[in-house]
Amino acid sequence: MVEVSTPVKWLLRLLAIGYVFLLVAWPVSTIVQDAFADGVGAFFEIFQDEQVVNALALTAQVALQAVAINLVFGVGISLLLVRYEFPGKRVLSALIDLPMSVSPVVVGLSLLLVYNGRDGWFGKTLEEWGVQIIFSGTGMIMATCFVALPLVIREVVPVLTEIGDDQEQAARSLGANARQTFLRITLPSIKWAVVYGVVLSLARSLGEFGAVKVVSGNVANQTQTATLVVEKQYQSFDQTGAYGVSFVLAFVSVVCIVVVSLLRPKEHKK
């Protein structure tokens, strides 16, 4: 490591901490303050509101399904990217990063263009088969999957690359077939990357707003998720409600990340 003089070291630490504090810690902590501004009782009152409860339940449903789908496809695509050579591999890899750079609102609009029932490229056909995507849970799950797609893959790919395929080849030479090799060798090796990717996806899916707003139609008690309720309450001057739901969302995400960082074995211990 490069030696840095003590004052510089402290200055750098101060800068980093100050930056994170002003940008993240302070604003998030004010949510907590405002959520409980009128006392704990007022905070729990928001759960009397049917609209809020329905929205939270819907958010949980959409997020869990999106995470489950992203888990399967994420691990699959990671294996494909690391273990196999095929034409178009770099294009695929670049496409996976697209959700990171495209605004979720744009994601929502593009899904709308393809899948809406009236003049969507694919939506009309699906509608004839009786499948509605836009303004339904399916569309919301799709939008959430889209925005959270890279999170599992970007966690798993570096780990897969690092462990190499020596262990997998050894397992094959010892008689294991592809499924046994994956379950007994590959999966245990990438376990923590998968868990971390899932938690990040979950946190991201719970908080998704833009894409879901466009495809859901934002109908109260039906297609209104927690983030949409926050916006609606804030706009109708229901501050306590808005901060309360915000707090629940932030709390769940923070708990996820804390639990994982406690569970995750210390790095560099190999």
Binding site: D166, Q169, R172, S173, L174
Partner: protein, 329 residues
Amino acid sequence: MSIEVTNVTKKYGDFHALDDVSVSLPTGQLTALLGPSGGGKSTLLRIIAGLDTADSGTVAIEGTNATKLPPQKRNVGFVFQHYAVFKHMTVAKNVAFGLEIRKTPKAEVKRRVGELLELVHLSQFADRLPSQLSGGQRQRMALARALAVEPTVLLLDEPFGALDAKVRKELREWLRRLHDEVHVTTVFVTHDQEEAMEVADEIVVINQGRVEQVGSPDELYDEPANDFVMGFLGEVTRLGPVRLRPHDVDVSVEPGRAGSFPGRITRLLRVGFEVRLQVELDPEVASGAEPVSVVLPRSHARGLDLELGSRVWLTAAVGAVTVPAMVAV
């Protein structure tokens, strides 16, 4: 014949890793595939194991055509240069892996694992993780793991390449003894001629994707088929029209022997029990030729009273292995 490789060719782009290779490896023996790095020997081993596929040609193991079989159906044990240990499993679990895949009863697995750990002297480490073992121990564990499934053939890819010199030497002696105990047909890849000579019953010399020669260590050393084999199996020097081993050059301090080459000692180096000389031949017998390397025992050198600058006369020793030198480069 245990392994029969016929007309195997493997290309990576334009590069011929293996060029129409045919070789038969006998049952129950310890065979070394010897050659320089990038010569194709590891590729051949991986094709035998099914970890790589040949572009053309066939591989038969114990009489069955294995060319199209996936690795898990070939019943071969494979040991990798970098051990390929299962990091998340204990030593005992690593060794048990192949048996558990085969749905062997638990009691039987336990007994076999115990035996194998005994065989590789790792019994007291059964419950440790591989990360707590040294390199040599890890490789012994990998060997036990490969032997657990009672493979028809055991294949080792530069098994001692990642170990330090002392452990390497210990392990190769140990491998020889192990083979004498277990008698499984074993093929190992190495680029270290000393390792091959010391351990193997038979050596296959592979260079640039071709088999240069097959034979016992003595045959290869005493009757090298060509210049490459001779050069690869030991040091070689050139004396007039022939190439020969430096220790096969006789040194005399006075002229008189027929066909001797006069010269002057330009370098003299004592290494342990031997003395290495560089002799520059007189220009009239060999103008522009490289200096001749000579190795002789220290006692012999002392008897001749050799010093830097001494005049000497060199001849090829009686019975020396020689090959004609290539046309002057």
